[in-house]
């Protein structure tokens, strides 16, 4: 087995938690599954599980760090559950391409959104608005997109501003629509928020 196969095997071990766990429990069998002959399987099995695990953890933490930078307010609002949700999500999505961090953050935001909707009552309702705001902002950063529109239950400007200043969340149930738009593809993005008074009246 040559370098190509060895790199493929290592890349899978570094990025796939299930495979890694099986490898730690039975390295010789997993090495053979990966296509290694007896001698190479023996050598692969001799690699320290702690070292592989340490590298895999550093990869995971790097990914989490990048995603947290793109979803900073959601991370701040949700705290520990944000990282825990990412741990579960990380093995289900393989980021790729020059914008892999954006893709990772967008996919994770989708995962987290489903989770928050499924666990109503366990998180403040405004956390979902905040997450959808950050998700929309990432989508709008793609220069190929002309328009991104998102409706929020809460006054998103106040909510975002308060959390960005590290203050207590300013929560006002005041429906609004946020629009990110470019006049043409590849031009600068413009952002505006419109209150929806009739919805507010309906709500009240």
């Amino acid at each position: 087995m040559g370098l190509v196969e060895m790199q493929k095997a290592l890349a899978r071990l570094y990025t796939n938690a299930d495979l890694r766990e099986r490898f730690f429990n039975d390295p010789a069998t997993v090495a053979r599954e990966l296509g290694f002959g007896d001698e190479e399987a023996r050598r692969l099995a001799a690699v320290s599980p702690a070292r592989i695990d340490s590298f895999a953890r550093s990869l995971h933490n790097k990914r989490l760090g990048q995603v947290a930078k793109l979803l900073p307010l959601s991370k701040r609002a949700l705290g520990g559950p944000f990282s825990e949700a990412f741990r579960v999500f990380a093995d289900t999505y393989v980021p790729a391409g020059t914008k892999k961090h954006l893709g990772d953050a967008l996919a994770f935001a989708g995962h987290l959104e489903k989770l928050l909707r499924a666990r109503k009552g366990q998180h403040p309702r405004w956390a979902l608005d905040l997450l959808r705001y950050e998700k929309a902002r990432i989508k709008a950063a793609d220069p190929r997109r002309r328009v991104v529109v998102c409706v929020f239950r809460h006054d998103i400007s106040q909510l975002v501003r308060s959390l960005a200043r590290k203050e207590d969340a300013a929560v006002f149930t005041r429906p609004c629509v946020a629009v990110w738009a470019r006049l043409r593809r590849g031009t600068t993005i413009r952002y505006a928020v419109y209150m929806v008074p009739e919805l507010r009246r309906k709500k009240n």
Partner: protein, 290 residues
């Protein structure tokens, strides 16, 4: 900004053919305002090339603005020069476009692989230290040179494990890679310090076995300790051990530039510039730049 000195030597050494840039910062978005306000204290900026591939117009304008005020050196992360299956040609074309646009004195990548078998690892993984792996670099760099004319320098990385097929030491491997590719070396003195501690070797012995005449640029920063291990987190001020290594390298190698590579836990700009100033003085003392 310090003046760009002309090439200093007529010798054959790789570094001597390049201009001396001085000392600068790895550009990070939160530093944007500060680097313009304090640009007289920053000789050049290193930009992460990947941030400007397929970039939004806002990022493109940022790059234009940076270019108007600073010498820029692109630093790529994901070309995966150590990939035995070859480099990603789509990525290479985008990178080549960026490097041509910036027309830098040199650009840099890592002695690492970041993808294999369709899996993007997401970080720099060490290749095995062997003749076969060195030949992979030679093949990949040859392909890259068909697209990018600017001189390429390669950076040593930190690693927690080595591939089971490794047959050489890291220094021998770097030597062979640099020889076969005819690239310069971006010596990350922090990585050297971290590896020497984590793998229990003497950095002086390591330096003795490196082709120091190929050292073009340095990276320096501080990491943190996790148990017995040093972590390359780019999150702390540069420790004294790294300054000592840097002083030794600047005394012997024809270094043309050094970059403070702080990513995390960013302190006020004054703290970063104090480190830049210390490195600049160190290089001046050894006659590396004006």
């Amino acid at each position: 900004m310090a003046a760009v000195a002309a090439a200093v030597s007529e010798g054959d050494a790789f570094a001597a053919r390049l201009p001396a840039l001085g000392v600068g910062l790895a550009f990070r978005e939160p530093l944007r305002g500060d680097v313009f306000l304090r640009r007289a204290e920053i000789d050049f900026l290193e930009i992460t090339a990947d941030h400007y591939l397929d970039a939004a117009p806002e990022k493109q304008r940022e790059l234009d603005l940076l270019r108007e005020h600073f010498h820029l050196v692109p630093h790529a992360l994901d070309l995966s020069l150590g990939s035995a299956e070859g480099v990603d040609r789509v990525y290479l074309r985008k990178l080549a476009r960026l490097v041509r646009r910036l027309d830098p004195p040199w650009w840099s990548e890592h002695v690492a692989f970041t993808r294999a078998g369709g899996v993007e690892i997401g970080h720099l993984a060490p290749t095995e230290f062997s003749r076969e792996a060195a030949r992979v670099f030679a093949r990949n760099v040859k392909e890259v040179r068909a697209h990018i004319d600017a001189p390429l320098i390669l950076e040593n990385i930190t690693y927690t494990l080595t591939s089971p097929a490794t047959t050489w030491g890291e220094a021998e491997f770097l030597n062979e890679v640099l020889e076969l590719t005819n690239c310069g070396l971006l010596l990350d003195v922090t990585n050297l310090h971290i590896n020497s501690v984590n793998h229990g070797y003497d950095f002086r012995d390591f330096l003795e076995r490196l082709p120091l005449d190929r050292v073009v640029q340095l990276h320096f920063v501080g990491g943190h300790r996790h148990g017995d291990e040093l972590i390359d987190s780019h999150s702390e001020r540069t420790p004294e051990e790294v300054w000592d290594i840097m002083d030794g390298v600047l005394a012997r190698a024809p270094v043309r530039g050094a970059i403070l590579e702080r990513d995390e836990n960013l302190p006020p700009i004054e703290e970063l510039l104090a480190e830049v100033g210390r490195a600049r003085e160190m290089g001046r003392r050894h006659g590396r730049w004006a």
